[in-house]
């Protein structure tokens, strides 16, 4: 009996681990994919120069900064996959409203604030800051959930960041060289929202690991 309980936990542990890493990949893909896509939303209003890219990149990094701090703090209090489910769910919902609202918003910012650095930063923030901050929580949360002893901290943290960065690379290249030449930017945004919704769902079915 004892043996089978142990086995059960082993299997479920391996399954959770695999699922978290799969999520790390997809969350990483959407994160960088949406940064590339952000350029398609911003260029018509703010031009395609290095200034627009600087606004996009710094906004993404700010979102990651917020996500890392907040994710780390929250998961220590609530060490549950529900944290990931909630964050991915909010990001998915946000992305789902972007296609219909982006153009009037960009137009308004361009007209009221202008197309200089402050306009670019505000527009990039409206587009990216909320969803990517929530996605930014993923890595510290996943590290905490996967960790079973301090002896494996380095390996677990390295694995989460490694897989998520592979996702970043995939998202950047796949979005730029496949999705943008194949379907429109708005449709791609809906695809991302759907991927994140699936990530959120997958984290709801996962059993809560032992604290």
């Amino acid at each position: 009996m004892a043996g089978s309980v142990c086995e059960q936990q082993q299997i479920s542990g391996g399954f959770v681990q695999a699922l978290l890493l799969v999520n790390a990949f997809f969350v990483g893909s959407v994160l960088m994919g949406f940064e590339m896509l952000g350029s398609r939303y911003l260029f018509p209003y703010f031009g395609g120069g290095i200034g627009t890219w600087a606004g996009l990149i710094s906004t993404v990094l700010l979102a990651l900064t917020l996500g890392y701090f907040a994710g780390g703090a929250v998961v220590d209090r609530h060490p549950s996959p529900r944290v990931i489910a909630t964050c991915c769910g909010i990001a998915a919902a946000y992305l789902a409203v972007v296609p219909a609202s982006a153009d009037p918003l960009m137009m308004g910012i361009m007209n009221d604030i202008g197309d200089g650095p402050s306009g670019i930063l505000l527009a990039a923030a409206c587009l990216l800051l909320v969803p990517l901050s929530f996605l930014g929580t993923f890595s510290p949360v996943a590290v905490r959930l996967l960790l079973r002893s301090t002896a494996e901290t380095g390996r677990i943290a390295g694995m989460v960041y490694g897989v998520s960065t592979i996702g970043n690379i995939f998202g950047t290249l796949f979005t730029t060289f496949y999705l943008i030449p194949t379907i429109g930017s708005r449709e791609i945004t809906y695809v991302y929202a759907a991927v994140l919704a699936l990530c959120a769902l997958s984290m709801l079915i996962v059993p809560r690991p032992r604290a």
Binding site: D115, F177, G184, S185
Partner: protein
């Protein structure tokens, strides 16, 4: 063994590329680099060869020449397509104001300014360094009726309430194609800034699939499009309303020629006017929009076998 042969193949390929590069550089050796500038948007090089100045972006001076200026004659347009851009004068109902998007060395707009000093010419250039170099080497001066605006072309139009009789679009920069200047939404904004009877002339590079999509996009906003095949480039003239026949265009061309005494007569260039043949544009080409505009991918698909009807055939239409 496999590794060795792969290495050898790469070595041979690199050697071939190296030979190609040095030989093309040697062919251009008489051009002397007189200034280079790294701006926010470009790496700009100004070369001098005899009396001629050339502005190029990037190192590949053979491919990415933006502008050529004859310092002894500021009414000379050494680059053929820029002459055909002025053919818009034969189409416009009135000529009171001209807008150019993409100034570069400023050849086309300065030529128009010199021959039409009473007409307001505005040129919008994104890169302030390009503007500065044009003023330094390409004979551009501050003069009444000649306005230079340092802004993104689309943003300029979105903020402007002015209307123009002629809008010239030449904002391709070397290898860079800003997608937001090639979409249906952009051409709609351009159309909204045309006065009654106004026309748009655009330089389009015809060797890739991007040409097909660009033409379809222009045609999605403008019912009429004429084409002028100009030495490797194609100038597209687009306008609203009914098609203009050759005789009507010829009449205006002759009349404006008498008034303006242009260096490159509109009537002569009119002989190069072409329409489209069924197989000129790829049937699979899609209209570009702000949502879907894969300009880089389209530019990578070469399409050299373009069929243009005989100039004489379209002139009878």
């Amino acid at each position: 063994m496999k590794l060795r042969s792969t290495t050898a193949r790469w070595g041979a390929a690199l050697l071939a590329i190296g030979t190609l590069l040095t030989s093309s550089a040697r062919a251009d050796d008489q051009r002397q680099l007189i200034e280079s500038k790294e701006s926010l948007y470009n790496n700009i090089y100004v070369y001098k060869e005899g009396d001629y100045y050339a502005m190029t972006f990037g190192y590949n001076r053979k491919i990415y020449t933006e502008s050529i200026y004859n310092s002894k004659d500021d009414r000379d347009l050494p680059v053929t397509y820029t002459r055909y851009m002025t053919e818009a004068l034969a189409y416009a109902k009135n000529v009171h104001s001209i807008l150019e998007i993409g100034f570069g060395g400023g050849r086309t707009s300065w030529y128009l300014h010199r021959f039409l000093p009473g007409v307001s010419v505005t040129s919008v250039e994104l890169d302030p360094e390009v503007e500065a170099l044009a003023k330094k080497y390409f004979g551009i001066k501050d003069e009444p009726n000649f306005h230079l605006v340092n802004q993104d072309g689309r943003i300029f139009l979105m903020h402007s309430t002015d209307k123009y009789d002629i809008i010239l679009i030449d904002a391709y920069r070397g290898p860079f194609v800003p997608f937001q200047l090639l979409t249906k939404e952009f051409y709609q904004i351009v159309k909204d800034h045309l006065s009654d009877g106004g026309v748009v002339a655009q330089n389009v590079e015809p060797t890739t699939m991007l040409f097909d999509s660009a033409v379809k996009t222009i045609q999605s906003v403008f019912p009429q499009t004429d084409f002028y095949v100009a030495d490797g480039n194609v100038v597209t003239i687009a306008y609203d309303g009914a098609p203009k026949d050759q005789a009507a265009l010829s009449t205006i061309a002759k009349q404006r020629q008498t008034e303006l005494n242009l260096r490159y007569p509109l009537v002569d260039m009119l002989a190069q006017r072409r329409g489209l043949q069924a197989n000129t544009i790829d049937p699979n080409a899609k209209v570009l929009t702000d949502d879907f505009a894969p300009v880089e991918a389209l530019k990578a698909i070469e399409n050299h076998n373009r069929k243009w009807p005989d100039p004489s055939a379209s002139s009878s239409k």
